[in-house]
């Protein structure tokens, strides 16, 4: 178990380096949220998600829907690492004609991308549709949907929350990136969300609230969430925006923006150092 966790942590730091390099090379993008979500998405993609990079359309694959689409660099890094498309694509992010759009796009047929996001608040409804289809077809795939905390300001998120509860979508697991930051500042200052867990509970969801950088908590939460029956589940993952890059951590100004040359070098140095403090690695 410990060896596995260390390998996952190393993987997360490797993915973070790709995130920083993608945004640096693109000269724009949203590094903060992506870095904060690296741990929870690494645990999901490298330990729990059933998928086949050689067959992205495998009907029984688990679905991963990224509703907070601006954090896509971490998803793209994972998909490249898994072999959904060549790593070279990462460095063309956001450029005209590139496969990798500024926000995830099915229109551009990015392998592994299930939903075109970018406009906030829509993905959880889409995920409900995918989960309903799974129930109708009696397929046992699971639907994981990442949403941001600020997406809980969009009313549509609560429409989807009602729907998932009403239709007992226990094949749906939402992952809430609770980093307390939105573009203009801390969520509680811009448009307060607390008590956020109480809201989800009142909407009938099963709640798992964890430190999104504690791997034991992450693994336990996914294991428990996958067991729950009869209602939708949400993992409220308390993440640190910019996690792993000292000058980005907790600073909402890194919601979007590309690092300078010097910042890029420092970030990569810090991320390498953190990775090498883990014992061993795992394959892509």
């Amino acid at each position: 178990m410990n060896g596995e966790i260390e390998a996952l942590k190393r993987k997360a730091y490797q993915l973070r380096r790709d995130v920083v390099e993608m945004v640096y090379r693109a000269r724009s993008g949203h590094p903060g949220g992506a870095l904060g979500m690296a741990d929870v998405l690494t645990v999901l993609w490298y330990k729990f998600l059933r998928a086949d990079p050689q067959n992205p359309a495998w009907p029984d694959r688990d679905r991963f829907i990224l509703s907070n689409g601006h954090t896509c660099p971490i998803l793209y890094a994972i998909l490249a690492d898994k072999g959904y498309f060549p790593r070279e694509e990462l460095w063309k992010l956001r450029k005209l004609g590139a496969l990798l759009q500024g926000h995830p796009s099915t229109a551009h047929k990015i392998p592994g991308v299930e939903f075109s996001s970018g406009s906030l608040g829509i993905g959880l409804s889409f995920a409900c549709g995918v989960a309903l289809a799974g129930k109708l077809d009696k397929r046992d795939y699971r639907v994981f949907c990442s949403i941001s905390d600020a997406e809980c300001q969009e009313g549509q998120t609560w429409e989807a929350a009602l729907t998932a509860h009403h239709y007992k979508l226990d094949n749906l697991i939402a992952i809430l990136d609770r980093n307390n930051c939105q573009i203009d500042g801390p969520t509680e200052r811009i448009m307060a969300l607390e008590p956020l867990a109480e809201k989800w509970r009142a909407f009938g969801w099963e709640i798992f609230e964890i430190d999104g950088h504690d791997y034991e908590q992450l693994i336990s939460a996914f294991e428990a969430a996958l067991k729950g029956r009869g209602r939708p589940k949400i993992i409220i993952s308390h993440n640190l925006l910019g996690k792993g890059v000292s000058f980005m951590e907790g600073d909402h100004r890194w919601h979007h923006g590309a690092p300078s040359d010097a910042q890029f070098e420092q970030a990569i140095r810090e991320l390498r150092l953190a990775a090498s403090s883990q014992a061993s690695g795992i394959g892509g």
């Binding site: 829509i122 993905g123 409804s125 889409f126 549709g129 309903l132 289809a133 989807a160």
Partner: protein, 324 residues
């Protein structure tokens, strides 16, 4: 439902009935509504196939994105609600989740236009053709009567490559087609040949246009009537050919004159008109005003969407043509 030429028949009932037929043949068909199962007649499908019917309560934005999720998981979703709640409230979700992804969702909106009647402006959607026509990947169909509605809904069964919006109404419309009528997606149909002016119409206004042509004939004016049931993609060839022959165009729609059929024809004539002489255009529709409460008949009269109103527009077009 039996459909008799000239008698009024409900488009939404035709829709509801065909939907059940389609449901029998293809179990990938699922139906969604937002607390309007009865009003959209999707309750017929709900009764027959309860496990493939999803009432989402009053959550239109959610419904549209959810339908996209079903479509991209191999289902053939039909989504039905009032036009204001289909092309209005969830417009951006239709754009992002359905149009941009080209998710083959069939949106069948009822209660479009003034003929909603007594509920008034909030429910009288006069901007839906405008809102959907502008979206890439979306097709827009406006059937003229219950017969065409049946044909259209049947055709949607295999409309799998991209999403489509179908505009129906609350009020029953006079039946203008006999049972031999065939709907051809993307084709406008000349229903009455004429020489001096072309009337392009959709929806209820096809019936009104046919009556307008009779009024004009009584005055010695030969009007051609074209049913533009596929608003997008527009049948440029039929449109241009007809005006090339008649030299004057009138459009008639139960919609704002901005952004709907009138605009589509104006764009087509502007960009594709091959003629030397100018062809005047007159648009009949709601002229940049909101609706209001009243009976369907009273409103059609009040806003001038009558055979007489169309005939007058045709005469104006002819006068402009002759002045030149």
């Amino acid at each position: 439902m039996e459909l008799k030429l000239g008698e009024k028949a409900s488009l939404r009932q035709a829709f509801g009935e065909v939907l059940v037929e389609l449901g029998e043949k293809d179990e990938r068909i699922v139906v969604l509504t937002a607390d309007l199962a009865g009003s959209t007649n999707t309750d017929l499908f709900a009764k027959r196939f309860p496990e493939r019917f999803f009432n989402l309560g009053i959550t239109e934005a959610n419904m549209m994105a959810l339908a996209a999720g079903l479509a991209m998981s191999g289902k053939k979703p039909f989504v039905s609600t009032f036009a204001i709640f289909a092309a209005g409230k969830p417009w951006e979700q239709v754009r992002q989740a359905i149009a941009y992804q080209s998710a083959p969702v069939r949106i069948v909106a009822t209660h479009a236009g003034l003929t909603v009647g007594e509920d008034g402006a909030s429910h009288q959607m006069l901007e839906d053709i405008n809102n959907i026509r502008v979206l890439p990947n979306m097709d827009v169909i406006v059937p003229a009567d219950a017969v065409e509605t049946k044909r259209v809904i049947h055709a949607l069964k295999d409309h799998d490559a991209n999403p489509v919006y179908v505009r129906l109404a609350r009020a029953p419309f006079p039946v203008v087609f006999d049972d031999s009528y065939e709907f051809e997606f993307g084709r406008a149909k000349v229903l009455r040949q004429g020489e001096e002016v072309t009337i392009f119409a959709c929806g209820l206004m096809v019936h009104q246009a046919l009556r307008a042509a009779e009024i004009l004939a009584a005055q010695g004016i030969s009007a051609e009537v074209v049913n533009v049931s596929t608003i997008k993609p527009l049948d440029l060839e039929t449109v241009i050919d007809s005006v090339a022959k008649t030299g004057a165009a009138v459009t008639a729609e139960e919609h704002q004159v901005i952004g709907g059929l009138g605009s589509a024809i104006a764009e087509a004539l502007g960009e594709h008109w091959p003629g030397r002489r100018a062809s005047p255009l007159e648009r009949v529709g709601v002229r940049d005003r909101f609706g209001q409460s009243g009976s369907a008949e009273a409103l059609i009269e009040h806003y001038g969407l009558t055979p007489e109103g169309i005939a007058q527009a045709a005469i104006r077009a002819l006068e402009r043509k002759r002045r030149r």
